[in-house]
């Protein structure tokens, strides 16, 4: 009888664990996609690329005020980098921001590209890569989505 109760308790425990796991999985995936759709929607991000004429440096600035309409808090991570043709870093910077459920939070990320890697001061003629990494993590940063975009290569002749 005691053994039978133990088996029943274990069975109920397994069912509870399964339901909790499925609920957390659905909630996390919903939150991730929700955060993705709001993060890339118009008005939440502002990208600027300016040249400082006095120094010749290019300055990349990404400002954002992402909202989170999901049920769980999310951590957004942004990283921008300029790499040479061999994949070595020329400039890299990153930032992360926590956005609570139903809330919004501001962030700013800037990257300065030195003038010596931009021949003639024209970015389109520069050889190398521009890398943008964007990540969303939720459930205590245990579940996540990352997108790595790399543009560039040798300049068109």
């Amino acid at each position: 009888m005691k053994n039978m109760n133990r088996i029943k308790v274990l069975r109920l425990g397994i069912i509870g664990f399964e339901v909790l796991t499925i609920a957390l999985c659905l909630l996390s995936i919903y939150t991730l996609f929700n955060a993705l759709s709001t993060a890339i929607s118009g008005g939440t991000m502002n990208l600027n690329l300016n040249k400082d004429e006095s120094t010749g440096e290019w300055r990349f600035v990404l400002n954002g005020n992402p909202k989170n309409t999901g049920f769980l808090g999310v951590t957004l991570f942004f990283e921008v980098a300029v790499l040479d043709l061999s994949g070595q870093d020329i400039a890299r910077n990153s930032t992360s921001v926590y956005v609570p459920a139903g809330g919004a939070n501001q962030f700013s990320l800037s990257l300065t590209v030195p003038p010596d890697v931009v021949p003639g001061g024209n970015l389109e003629e520069a050889e190398g890569y521009f890398e943008l990494r964007f990540a969303v993590r939720t459930l205590g940063d245990l579940v996540g989505f990352t997108n790595i975009l790399r543009i560039g290569g040798e300049a068109a002749s």
């Binding site: 053994n3 397994i14 664990f17 993590r137 996540g144 989505f145 997108n147």
Partner: protein, 156 residues
């Protein structure tokens, strides 16, 4: 009946659906580093194995070791299905899916990290195996409790 249902949902419908999907869509998925045909074939194979396991279990008594072994195998197989679903067709990734594509000097990689659920599913599978063993032992002890009384019953 359950075996037939699994076979229809996981094997017959996906294989039929694969023929209905236009070739352009398949090519579009393939160019994004996602082999839809391979995914459908794997789902069909999973359905076939699951149906066989369910069918086989029906032939054995709950007190037999073969029944216990089949229960454990089908539980482990469900875990592989979870890995398969979390890894979008690649169960060896254990919930970490990487989809990458490259075109015109632009490379894009998308990474889904659902490893937490793969770990939780492994714990659940372990608990289910323990449950199967306890149930098997209970069924066995019930049989051994009944058997000694049988000669006395016939003597009456």
């Amino acid at each position: 009946m359950y075996a037939v249902l699994i076979l229809v949902i996981f094997t017959i419908l996906p294989l039929y659906g694969q023929r209905v999907i236009p070739q352009e869509y398949l090519r579009a998925f393939s160019s994004q580093g996602f082999d839809l045909v391979d995914l459908v074939n794997k789902i069909a194979f999973i359905g076939l194995v699951m149906s066989i396991l369910i069918l086989l279990k029906g032939f054995f008594e709950k007190t037999s070791v073969t029944y216990l072994a089949l229960s454990i195998v089908s539980t482990v197989f469900w875990l592989l299905i979870v890995f398969f679903a979390l890894g979008v067709g690649k169960m060896e990734n254990l919930g970490l899916t990487v989809i990458s594509s490259e075109a015109g000097g632009v490379s894009n990689a998308i990474i889904f990290d659902l490893r937490l659920f793969a770990y939780l599913a492994t714990v659940i599978t372990g608990l289910k195996i323990v449950h199967s063993i306890l149930k098997f032992r209970q069924a066995k002890s019930k049989v051994t409790q009944v058997q000694p009384s049988q000669p006395l019953d016939t003597a009456d």
